[in-house]
């Protein structure tokens, strides 16, 4: 049995929670003050995911800001960064344009969050 500590981010209270894990299975959670805290802990302990926001190089100079359209597995963020940093985009770019489709086969697109006018 493994013990994991985590801080709840659902509300500003920030409960310090303790979870007992049996391998990948959550056995018990304590320290939370509400049900939302428990749900957060379960998701965080079994499949932590994050939205990735970064920038991509623009042909001819400058950067365009981008994000993952949906959350990515937390453990894959650095590999996704490497993929995005090797990419270059041709202007013009509109907000919401898909710049990388299905990054690393994770089923999530990388989309533009700012616009770059054509030259």
């Amino acid at each position: 049995m493994e013990t994991r500590n985590l801080t709840c981010i659902v509300c500003p209270l920030g409960c310090e929670m303790t979870a007992q894990m049996d391998g990948r299975k959550v056995v018990s959670i304590s320290g939370n003050t509400c049900k939302r805290g428990e749900n957060y802990a379960r998701a965080e302990l079994t499949d932590p995911r994050r939205t990735l926001t970064t920038t991509m190089r623009v042909k001819g100079g400058g950067r365009v800001s981008v994000k993952s359209k949906d959350t990515l597995p937390k453990g894959k963020l650095f590999e996704c960064m490497t993929v995005i940093n090797a990419w270059e985009v041709q202007p013009p770019v509109k907000i919401g344009d898909v710049l990388i489709k299905d990054i690393m086969g994770l089923g999530v697109d990388i989309v533009a969050t700012s616009r770059i006018n054509g030259v």
Binding site: L6, C11, I95
Partner: protein
């Protein structure tokens, strides 16, 4: 040039104020912006989490700004970019210089000040040591990385746990830097909990509370910093001092409302917020001059800036058509456990009002209370109040019978 409403700054506050002014009947609305683009600091805030209150969805900074830019364009609002306001007279004449206007004056029916805020810089901290390259504010680093695409360093120490510092800890890490630690002088962080978890804990970056930098080492480039724990008065404890090698020191040590123009026109400034004193219409001590956003008080969330600026812009437009009649005011005051209250004066005009304030410390299981004399006029139970998160209370106009005092008390 003439304008019904002139707005200084095209960040989130300025754009929301301009849109509200237009929607409330002002015909010629002119926004004056120093930078070449609209949206202000949101353009470099590429992370998400903006817009949950205003749009009910999580947007990045540039996406949030774009919604307001598009709306301003659709409403035919004049935006003068790369244009600097040099001076504003109390009779509401702005002296500006820029490529579209040249050197000219703008006579405005009403003015909204929306200059935002600036970061406290290294000079303000009086850190001993030389002035090597590699010491920069977190916001400057954010601009270098996100707009210009340059990495300012590889081995990083961050002083101050404000949200921009936390966001930059994650950003620098994702781009391959090694963020060694974040130091915070106070025994608690001023940043949002969510940022501490997702920007520091996620990447195993230690947050050292009650710690500060005592010396910067290096001649041309930062080579390291001395750090030490501080006692409860914030004074470094000598025998805890240690050396940390690094090539970059980022500072996230507070934001200061930008009010050079307001001071120039002798607007009354609140010494605690650093912004103009405002009434419940966001009107400053000078009639027809309104203020909003981080120029008034530093906000934690852009959504609240938008809300405040919308009120300021609407009030500025209404001012154009309002006859000049005497209005009674009641002041607000910060009581026990409260650092400041905005607005500083309440107009007794029959409208419902919201008081915004910050607590001085972390309070658990408490109540925030607004009183007039002995009478409680608003009360809110709170599981926790922290200085990093703005609090609010709604009060009814008919309950205001004198000074309104806000305090935080045990539940």
């Amino acid at each position: 040039m003439k304008a019904d409403v002139a707005i200084v700054g095209a960040g989130p506050a300025g754009l929301a104020a301009a849109i509200a002014a237009k929607e409330n009947g002002a015909k010629r609305v002119v926004v004056i912006e120093r930078e070449s683009h609209l949206g202000g600091i949101l353009n470099q805030c590429i992370h998400n989490g903006f817009g949950l209150h205003v749009f009910g969805e999580e947007l990045t900074g540039p996406e949030y700004a774009a919604r307001f830019e598009d709306k301003a364009a659709a409403l035919d609002i004049t935006c003068l970019t790369q244009t600097m306001v040099l001076d504003i007279s109390p009779s509401r004449v702005l002296t500006v210089v820029g490529p579209q206007t040249g050197f000219c004056t703008i006579e405005a029916g009403a003015i909204v000040l929306a200059m935002g805020c600036r970061e406290r810089s290294a000079g303000a901290l009086m850190l001993p040591g030389g002035r090597p390259a590699g010491v920069l504010t977190a916001g400057t680093a954010q601009r270098f990385v996100n707009i210009d695409g340059y990495m300012p360093g590889k081995e990083v120490v961050i002083l101050g746990s404000g949200d921009i510092g936390l966001i930059m800890a994650r950003r620098m890490t994702l781009e391959g830097a090694h963020v060694k630690m974040v130091l915070e002088l106070m025994p608690f962080s001023g940043g949002l909990k969510r940022n501490i978890v997702q920007c520091l804990d996620d990447y195993n970056i230690p947050l050292k509370l009650s710690y500060t930098v005592t010396r910067i080492h290096g001649a041309k480039r930062v080579e390291g910093v001395s750090i030490a724990a501080v006692d409860n008065k914030g004074v470094p404890i000598k025998d805890t001092e240690e050396y940390v090698a690094c090539d970059t020191l980022l500072l996230s040590v507070g934001l200061i409302p930008e009010n050079e123009l307001s001071r120039g026109m002798d607007i009354k400034i609140d010494p605690v917020t650093g912004g103009p004193e405002v009434d419940s219409h966001m009107q400053t001590s000078i009639k027809g001059v309104f203020a909003c956003g981080n120029a008034v008080q530093v906000h934690d969330l852009v959504d609240f800036v938008t809300e405040e600026a919308t009120r300021a812009g609407a009030a500025a437009a209404r001012y154009l058509f309002e006859e000049d009649k005497a209005i009674a005011y009641c002041p607000t005051k910060a009581g026990t456990g409260i650092r400041y209250v905005v607005p500083q004066r309440l107009r007794l005009d029959g409208d419902k009002k919201t008081l915004f304030f910050r607590v001085t410390n972390v309070f658990k299981n408490c109540v925030t209370v607004a009183r007039c004399g002995d009478k409680v006029i608003a009360r809110k139970k709170r599981l926790v109040c922290t200085p990093g998160e703005m609090e609010s209370l709604c009060i009814a106009d008919e309950d205001i019978q004198g000074d309104v005092i806000v305090s935080v008390e045990e539940a």
